[in-house]
Amino acid sequence: MNATISDSPNTETKRWKIALLNGLNMTSLGQRDKNVYGTIGSLQELEDLVSDTGAKLGVDIVAFHSNHEGDLVDFIEAATDIDAFMINPGGLWRFGEPTNIAFEQAGKPFVEVHFANIYATGDKSVYTDSALATTMGFRHYGYLGSLVALVAELNQGLLCSH
């Protein structure tokens, strides 16, 4: 294993805490169109998979989901102990400006993750310009690739001062 993905967090820094947010309609994962969402069984299964992967990488995952955009804004505003966010905004990708502004105000890096390649619709996500990173079209595997790469980036010290 290379030095950029450590078995345990750097002892000189605190353990990274990464929030995993799932937005509107993601509670229905498992019953949605399998052409888009693949075979993952439920949102709980997805959250467990990301948390387990976080444990392997030596970071903590705080999972949160809601069908109400205001809940996402409340969570982001209150999440002062979170180092970075991953979000699948669900249907908010097109119009979710309040959530986007909450991220900008929080001043923490966030990664936008989508199951489908939403650029295949010809439209642009409102999040892409302010997100540190964007991952789409890998179904649920994009969450895992994003987490690995985000942790690698955090461990380089390129994002945070501590």
Binding site: M1, N2, T4, I5, D7, K34, N35, V36, G38, T39, T53, K56, L57, V111, A116, N117, I118, Y119, A120, T121, G122, K124, T128, D129, A131, L132, A133, T134, T135, M136, G137, F138, R139, Y141, G142, L144, G145, S146, V148, A149, L150, A152, E153, L158
Partner: protein, 167 residues
């Protein structure tokens, strides 16, 4: 950890990484991308080939030659992002999963002519965009119901065409 701990399969897929014109400055700024790609591929248990060129025609010919043995592509189009129609055709013709890669999200957005026709996108995490794209692509290739080349279920997308959200 070894990245292969994330997999349920040990097939040594052959992933081709392509970097287009004007990418050398970004690549050189992060050290040795070749070495990083090799380490990550070894940790995942897959093969990787990396090719950078400032000449679109050379990239096309590299793709033409690589297709028979390539399982998937990671492509940073660089300066061709908004104008590389021939590169886009070569990738479409390959009928392989293609992930579009960018160092920075500023290179993505409405500028890219590749985004609507690639399988997937990984952007914004500098050299680690290649890592995240590689991990995501390999896990997706391992899945018979997604990008596995031997899969034949209705949800398999191994021939590289994204499913429109409006269909």
């Amino acid at each position: 950890m070894k990245l292969s701990d994330l997999r349920n399969n040990d097939t040594s897929w052959r992933i081709v990484v392509l970097n287009g014109p004007n990418t050398t400055a970004a690549i050189n700024s992060i050290g040795n991308l070749n070495e990083l790609l090799k380490e990550w591929a070894k940790s995942l248990g897959v093969e990787i080939d990396h090719f950078q060129s400032n000449h679109e025609g050379k990239i096309l010919e590299y793709i033409h030659a690589a297709v028979p043995t390539a399982t998937g592509f990671l492509v940073n189009p660089g300066g061709l992002t908004s104008v590389g129609e021939s590169l886009r055709h070569a990738l479409k013709d390959s009928a392989r999963p293609v992930a579009e890669i960018h160092f920075d999200n500023a290179e993505l957005g409405s500028q890219s002519i590749f985004s609507p026709s690639v399988t997937s996108i990984f952007s914004g995490l500098h050299q680690f965009s290649y890592l995240g794209g590689l991990v995501s692509l390999v896990l997706a290739l391992d899945d018979l119901d997604f990008l596995h080349p031997d899969g034949n279920s209705a949800t398999n997308r191994s021939h590289g065409t994204p499913k429109s959200l409006f269909v």
